[in-house]
Amino acid sequence: MSNAPPERADSGALQELERDPASRKQFLKLMGGGVAATSAFSIFLAACGGDDDKKTQSTESTSTAATQESGDIKIVNYALTLEYLEADFYQQVIDSGLFKGAQQSLIQAIGDHENQHVEALSGTVSKLGGTPAAEPQTKFPIDNPKNILTLAATVENLGAAAYLGQADKIKNKEILAAAISIHSVEARHAAALNFLTGKSPTPDGGFAKPASMDQVLAAVKPFIVS
């Protein structure tokens, strides 16, 4: 889509996961994955994969510490993929020229936040010694302002629920701190967009509901081209 970079040769952690049955199994277990999770996740891997057959030098070292760290890397790469989707969506909306004035300003501000999240998460993965997930190619229905804002609200509510679903699974407390500082910003975006589209800013009531990785991946699948 818009300005997707050329195929990246580096293998994302998700792809690495695909090649490593042991860690994939463990990952699915971590995510409470059953059959449904497996299929949604496989689809996501297929969608995200760069089909680069060249094996990287990632050897299957599974010391306990490395396993813990790799769990966090996978979660951060999952978040990174969602942020790529969001950032790309807002870029496409801005490029469409369908918004003006205050609404355009809000969309730009939100898009800018998502770009900052992408940078931060990508940097975090690198810092942890992992390979940042590649930017997926996306496709969003950019038709009219009303539908776009409704889709934006859907995406943001999903994003907030996705972060909430991972909070208690993150092991490194610095990564946790970073994730929750993004989580509440996604929640702000979601509430603002809900409010502006005439929906309740708090659709779950007094307690927000988390979404599991498989739920989220299934929901974003229609927007991923490759």
């Binding site: 463990q26 277990k29 971590l30 813990q68 809000l106 501000a109 939100i110 800018d112 936040h113 998502e114 900052q116 999240h117 931060a120 907030a160 909430l164 909070a167 208690d168 699974k169 092991k171 407390k173 610095e174 946790l176 701190a177 970073a178 929750i180 500082s181 993004i182 989580h183 509440s184 910003v185 929640a187 702000r188 975006h189 979601a190 509430a191 603002a192 409010f195 502006l196 309740s200 800013p201 708090t202 779950d204 009531g205 007094g206 307690f207 927000a208 509901k209 988390p210």
Partner: protein, 206 residues
């Protein structure tokens, strides 16, 4: 902390600190438990909670929720416009739900829930109400975000997360009603205890 200010000193007594190595090891053990199921980790949870500051953090949150709930109750007595009044009612109901949930959680962990302090809010009209509402909701978000990494029980962390998301949503709506950006930045600040206290202490009467 000034003497005789019970609620404030209680808040001050709560130390939101980073984890020491032992706590980190324990947290890792708990995190492993999330992989293999709650049952397997049951004994660890009990031990960890008994030794941890989770009750203290929950009571810290409870006091803030008391404050917010009372704030909206007081606010609804003002002559608020339709949209603002509707929001005050909605948010006030949520804050009361948070109060109830936190009290129940503290009790479940064997702790004693913090008592509700007496508050005094400098609000006299819609403008002053909206201004203070924004401060309180943004402070609430920062307080939860600041405390979260120190929470030891994954269950308590998940509960705090589901509450802070609502505080963030309230903050966003209030900010829109105030005509400012719903999200002041790409990353919400994590407030440490002293900053939270500085924001709320003037509102606590006794």
């Amino acid at each position: 902390m000034s003497n005789g200010n019970m609620a404030a000193s209680e808040l001050a007594a709560v130390e939101i600190h980073g984890m020491d190595r032992g706590a980190f090891v324990m947290k890792s053990a708990l995190a492993v438990g999330t992989v293999y199921g709650v049952a397997a980790v049951g004994p660890f949870v009990g031990k960890a909670l008994a030794a941890s500051g989770d009750v203290g953090i929950l009571n810290f949150a409870l006091t803030l929720e008391y404050l917010e709930a009372d704030f909206y109750t007081q606010g609804m007595k003002l002559n608020l416009g339709g949209e603002v009044a509707k929001f005050a009612k909605l948010a006030g109901a949520h804050e009361q739900q948070h109060v109830d949930a936190l009290i129940a959680t503290v009790k479940k962990l064997g702790g004693t829930p913090a008592k509700k302090p007496t508050f005094k809010f400098p609000i006299s009209n819609q403008a002053t109400f909206l201004k203070l509402a924004q401060t309180l909701e943004d402070t609430g978000v920062g307080a939860y975000n600041g405390a979260a990494p120190a929470i030891k029980s994954p269950e308590v962390l998940a509960a705090a997360g589901s509450i802070v998301q609502i505080e963030a949503r309230h903050a966003a709506v209030i900010r829109l009603l105030n005509g400012v950006s719903p999200a002041p930045g790409a990353f919400d600040e994590a407030l440490m205890e002293a900053k939270v206290l500085a924001a709320v202490k003037p509102l606590i009467k006794a």
